[in-house]
Assembly symmetry: C3
Homo-oligomer: 679 residues x 3
Amino acid sequence: MNATLTRVPHLLHGGDYNPDQWLRYPEILEKDVELMKKAGCNAMSVGIFAWAALEPEEGKYEFGWLDQVIDRLYQNGIYTVLATPSGARPGWMAAKYPEVLRVNADGRRIPFSARHNHCPTSPVYREKVRLINTALARRYAGHPGVILWHISNEYGGACYCPLCREAFREWLKKKYGTLDELNHAWWTAFWSKTYPSWDLIDPPFDNGERGVHGLTLDWMRFVTDQTVDFMKAEVAPLKEANPALPVTTNMMGFYPGLNYFKFRDVSDVISWDNYPSWHEGDDRETALSTAMTHDLMRSIKPGKPFLMMESCPSAVNWKPYAKLKRPGMHELASLQAVARGSDSVQYFQWRKGRGGFEKFHGAVVGHLGTGDTREFREVEALGKRLKGLSKLAGSRFVSRAAIICDTENRWALQEMRGLIQEDKGYLAEVRRHYAPLFRMGVNVDLIDEESSLEGYELVAAPMLYMLRAGIAEKLRAFAEKGGTLVFTYWSGIVNDTDLTFLGGFPGGGLQELFGVRMEEIDTLYPADRNGAEVLPAGKEAGLQDRYEIRDYTEISHPAGAEVLAVYESDFIRGLPALTVNRFGKGRVYYAAAVFEDGFYRDFYRKLVSDLSLRPLEVDLPEGVYLSERRLEDNTSCYIFQNFNTEEVSLALPKTLTSLETGESLETLVLPGYGTVFLL
Amino acid sequence: MNATLTRVPHLLHGGDYNPDQWLRYPEILEKDVELMKKAGCNAMSVGIFAWAALEPEEGKYEFGWLDQVIDRLYQNGIYTVLATPSGARPGWMAAKYPEVLRVNADGRRIPFSARHNHCPTSPVYREKVRLINTALARRYAGHPGVILWHISNEYGGACYCPLCREAFREWLKKKYGTLDELNHAWWTAFWSKTYPSWDLIDPPFDNGERGVHGLTLDWMRFVTDQTVDFMKAEVAPLKEANPALPVTTNMMGFYPGLNYFKFRDVSDVISWDNYPSWHEGDDRETALSTAMTHDLMRSIKPGKPFLMMESCPSAVNWKPYAKLKRPGMHELASLQAVARGSDSVQYFQWRKGRGGFEKFHGAVVGHLGTGDTREFREVEALGKRLKGLSKLAGSRFVSRAAIICDTENRWALQEMRGLIQEDKGYLAEVRRHYAPLFRMGVNVDLIDEESSLEGYELVAAPMLYMLRAGIAEKLRAFAEKGGTLVFTYWSGIVNDTDLTFLGGFPGGGLQELFGVRMEEIDTLYPADRNGAEVLPAGKEAGLQDRYEIRDYTEISHPAGAEVLAVYESDFIRGLPALTVNRFGKGRVYYAAAVFEDGFYRDFYRKLVSDLSLRPLEVDLPEGVYLSERRLEDNTSCYIFQNFNTEEVSLALPKTLTSLETGESLETLVLPGYGTVFLL
Amino acid sequence: MNATLTRVPHLLHGGDYNPDQWLRYPEILEKDVELMKKAGCNAMSVGIFAWAALEPEEGKYEFGWLDQVIDRLYQNGIYTVLATPSGARPGWMAAKYPEVLRVNADGRRIPFSARHNHCPTSPVYREKVRLINTALARRYAGHPGVILWHISNEYGGACYCPLCREAFREWLKKKYGTLDELNHAWWTAFWSKTYPSWDLIDPPFDNGERGVHGLTLDWMRFVTDQTVDFMKAEVAPLKEANPALPVTTNMMGFYPGLNYFKFRDVSDVISWDNYPSWHEGDDRETALSTAMTHDLMRSIKPGKPFLMMESCPSAVNWKPYAKLKRPGMHELASLQAVARGSDSVQYFQWRKGRGGFEKFHGAVVGHLGTGDTREFREVEALGKRLKGLSKLAGSRFVSRAAIICDTENRWALQEMRGLIQEDKGYLAEVRRHYAPLFRMGVNVDLIDEESSLEGYELVAAPMLYMLRAGIAEKLRAFAEKGGTLVFTYWSGIVNDTDLTFLGGFPGGGLQELFGVRMEEIDTLYPADRNGAEVLPAGKEAGLQDRYEIRDYTEISHPAGAEVLAVYESDFIRGLPALTVNRFGKGRVYYAAAVFEDGFYRDFYRKLVSDLSLRPLEVDLPEGVYLSERRLEDNTSCYIFQNFNTEEVSLALPKTLTSLETGESLETLVLPGYGTVFLL
């Protein structure tokens, strides 16, 4: 069964479908269905941005065309993922109710234009959304072809209008109760910024307050909360009509504007839009980054499948270079989503529009209007293959290792002044810990500080600058019970309003866990280098003699921990670069600096071996990646993907059977860009 | 006779003259005329930006100083090119009628400042311009010293004020008739952008609608039309006073803000301001770019001479580096204008001001105030030489080859999303076709899609992305009758509202002409390379074995055309890179990719040879360029220019006579930076 | 005695102290004093940005906490430098009187936020400042612990509000009397910019008038004058309470927004905030730049000591890389301030805040809260050493050489269009003349055009583009009496409203002084090079055969001067590159181009030798710098500093005695980063 889409026993295959752009072209609407069937598609997202077609005048709904589309799809075996149209409001609304239009950080209201620029607070907008959503729900929530609600589209951005400003102040009142509490939490005595009244609090306008980090963080949290609240309001009338019909909203991976983990409860299924830049650099590195993004999205609901809601069959038209995917890459990249836990391969877009901003964005069907193109044929071939993988629909992705990658921590690091100013390096540090695990075929979740640590045996928490409520306790308990923790420099510095801990770092009760006392941190200029000299104890932990160090060297002193490696030069020579601390039944590592990649490879190889985290004892050649999904009966499906252009072969540790062909294999021969599913 | 300046039997020599800045310095005004005569000047542009001096208070005209200037010039044998002063409005007008001040794309009205920032729609501004132009015309249109009207100065920019917005909506109503038509033409169903009322249509504000390409294009067309309309309003009272006195406005070459070809009818003479960056790169390449710009400007009125209205005797002061022209470059660059069809060498500026933004902009007379400078002496020498070239005044520049370089197509390519995003490469592609023709001494016109193809035998139409009304038919007819056409990748994609053609590219009826069916286009990353393997048929067309390819590789399939070269690698190996199609009596070439320069050299050498397009059968050394002007009796004047610093010599294919010395030549010896005129 | 701090016989040691941020943490306030004593601190700057704590509601003052702080400090032997709090206004004021908030160049009023953004003109703000300053003065001006007023903080920026605009117009009326005078001085006839009324004059808004350089310059002058006037208003009530208590305001070195020399009279002591980027490049070059900045600041009141009011004990948090100071650099850099004339080593900040923009800015006490850190221990060691240097408090820094580095000239060069557009190179040229003098241990002042030339024997005036009133006469008189002058290209071009001189450059009466007639100036592209060939006369002046030339080559002709070197190539070959002119009893050098560093080294070595400018005849190794301060009895204290990490030794020309140890020395052995004080 597909994810929570209980009526669909297949992986979804399809994409965004915009018949509303083609109402003047009935022959094209007919041709569409014929081509969808040819391409092996079974699910189309309909109605995204269709408000102007659905409600051309205020209160006058036009559902005729949509009835026809959904019916026709269903009659042809194609499900509908039905969108709410709130991603772009119709002209009449902008004209009559300017308050629905967003105000930017410069204080100017955006004219009627583009998309994704409504005010999430406006009562008028919420009411208009409620009305159309109610009408859609009443009409389609029981339609047998409709399997999922697609709420709005790629929520994002922030509105600075008076309504949002007032809502922000109410949010703050609820959070802090009194101005005294707020002023202390934000440390406003600095620069006489003490707020004498709630009314004086504004969001961080582009010419306004950018230096009160607590304010900025709370504003970003408010933006997320207000967006979640808006989504809840969108969902309510849909659930009223049919509580069983699941909802999702399509996210954007590492998009920094929202804390997606706050959407966990309001979304029945997680879905996201995946646009890697294939062929720009080394595709094997791009594949790693893409897997990491899949893992982040999936980990919002750990273990559960997600949906890849958008991807491009050829070249997107909004990157600096519109490079085509090479033959085979479409299949490989699509199946990577499945390998990392997706129950779908969906595209943006089914058909290229004749006009507008995305008319040259890749699509299954181009302006030629037939299936006689390379991209169509690749989609068609993939469609056939996906049919043979229906067993994977609903299978789980189980990880025993996790990395904490927390959005609010990321915001706080971005805002803080210091270190390497422009980019403190948070995501790069997360990637350093992710990469070696991924390369060994270890399933990894990317969770946030609010996530449960249950079920994990290894947790890395790089650059854990901001300790949000409860995380310190959770980490201590995790180690107590025998878990392995990996920490780095610049950890335990501030609480969740960005106030530093007093009395020594890492603060918040982590010093005992680390067994280390931090004194100061040095930021290296780009050309600066130091090195780590590995001590005998470090070599037992799998490390080699020496590793290069760059970017940051934290200066700290052992306070219980064992030193595994020390700095080799500069005035910090001999001070710890890597330590391990026994805490309860667990082990706690602390890496004080940024090391070369080889360090993380060696370090995690030993940990993974000690903890037996690999699903299969197999040495993966460079660029060959292994993922594991658990079928309904909890048996493993091993998915090998080759991101090299050349064939590779590898010996399997045991005889495995191809899910697709039933063939038994002891040695695996993977063609360039090839994927196999083994049981 | 000079161009349409029927009273002037010489090439013009002079420049912008601003006595209005020096009214407090009568001795300097006297000195000016003395120095002009010494410098061999015969024409001065007077009154540009002089409104504050002409009308210091509303309705109070001060013509005394201008009377004196024009009279004094005339008495000393110097003509006046008389400007209308609309390029900058006086302070009293800004104070009393703020509507004359322009509103920027950010919606803010510009304070009283600088120049070129009036509203072209404002009825007040138009009325004030009408009044002053009428007064100027009544007083000077019959003055024997006044030979030409210089309308305003370097029209440019756009105004976003409420008046302009309303005028834009009226313009749209006239164009589309109904909102339905507009909505379809702009494909506004995309992102629910359907306009329910005209009032909701705004120009592309900086925080407004930038994604509806049809809107952006129409806005740019409107800006041009409104500027032309403004110019017409400027011209009306002038023509009323003296219909025979010609008008011009000084343009700016490849300036992207206006479609200069729309000024064809309102201008009696084309004039433009020429500021190459000599000595920054290879001067021979700079000379080629400069020639191309002259050719573009001239081709607005093909065959007719134009005027170089501004150029700098030494260094301009607004570039990143104020590099001086080396000795000899002034003469060489000035005579290049003449070689490409100019009937003038005019400067900005006669004399450096004491203050303001351009006080260090090169001039004939500097702050020293005498002729005792290198730049003055170079001007003086050139003045002498120009006197000996009077025969060239009025001579024509006749081309049998043309390249389509269409401003609206350029706009559309700039706006479209895809390919190489930042710069799609249109002008670079145009240059690839221009360069080999220019290097062979073939006269070339740079025309637009609305221009007639009469008289041409070879037409290149690179990156003909947007097919404006009628161009497809014109091209078919041209080929039918035996013309040779050269097309490239990314052609025939959209109609003139930027809607794609359906049913395959090149669309709009061009597929039969090309004999090729396009499937997709690949954009290469900067480091990517492919190659073209030339087939035997290609070698017969003058090509060598192989050429390197970069940037774009269009993937297409022959549908009647003969393949001359194929891609050598990647998944497109063996697909056509170059084809030729027989169509009627003509030949149609299609280059599917961006080739290295050598390809265009070889390709056009054969075409030029087949069509006998060279004016003289002479092999030009690198950096030596040949132009041809046709004298009144239709005999040819061959102009050779040497942009090398070293002397070169070349054998002439027949005995020619020097226009200046009467000497007969069989071998030409050109000193570094030298120019000769041969009959 | 310390500077004008007549009650303090020591060098100050301490820094910015913000107890107002810690009023909730009384234990920390107590700990502070304990740590200050441990660190050897004797002076704290209190009350900067404390307005919200001092006046939490309008008219309701809270001085209790401040009483306690000042008393406690005094009781523990620590002086208070008491700030006026105008650097940031409290929230109630922003809410009730929006006019106190600054308006930016974009015309938008800044919301209540950050600091340094009040309107300096607002009568309300001035009144509120007067009231709080009066209250502070009445309460503390007689306190025995208060030794100095710290007026506001780092004045800077400009306000474009209607009040400031009107004040600007009044300032202009006073300056020019009539619009006619203003229009001529600003050369507004250019582009019809003639102002018909005062009301139409606006400051250079971001979308306004940027091309009338006289306007821009006057606006910058007005901003300085208005800031000085604001400071005067701040000071008045303080002086009324206690005329003997000196005032200062902390400046920012080469900050371009204000002409600090205009603060000479309103400041009793000059103080400034010093933040070099140690370890980013070559520290020896950074040390030179830092010394140059100390010298600029000191030269506002030549000869008198100044105060280094802020510096960072470790890493600042607002640079691109937060690099820590290496061990020893703190002492070295702090003592450099003393070497260049400072009577203090003060820090920003005493203790890191828990929150806000600067919570990770280096401080004496970090979040650990104890003295158990490297940075604290280094401060402590320095505190001990400073106690032994009390003799230096009040000692003078006497220079016989000066370089004119004029802020208004810098503004004018920045605004002018031409040369190398982005950076005309003024400060780089100043540095070329400063460096060789500094490297020889010659004390140098950096004065402006209004400064007296009395007491100097050598004056360099590089790029003296703008001749302000009186400077030409002063320079002539200086040379007449036997002074040595060094000029460069691009000198004597404009008067003080940026109008060019007429009749030849250098103008303003300097041509006779130079003995040279300038014709034009060539700006070289970055890759261009020329060279100087030194003539025999030049070799007698200490020069070698040849020097490389870049950036600018001015083309000029001798008119009385002797040519010492000529250009070696290009069309200017043989024209003068360096000349000397005898004028009265003096010598006047003119360097027409930008030479390689070696030229300035050789050139000044000879001049310094001829004029016997070195305090000691000692050859300083690279990176070892010598400064001289004159003690009360006019004996010299020679300060040697080694900015190398390795030890160096040098022979002294005579036996000297260590100020700190009393040891006699003939050879000086300086450890890496070492400093010695010798008598």
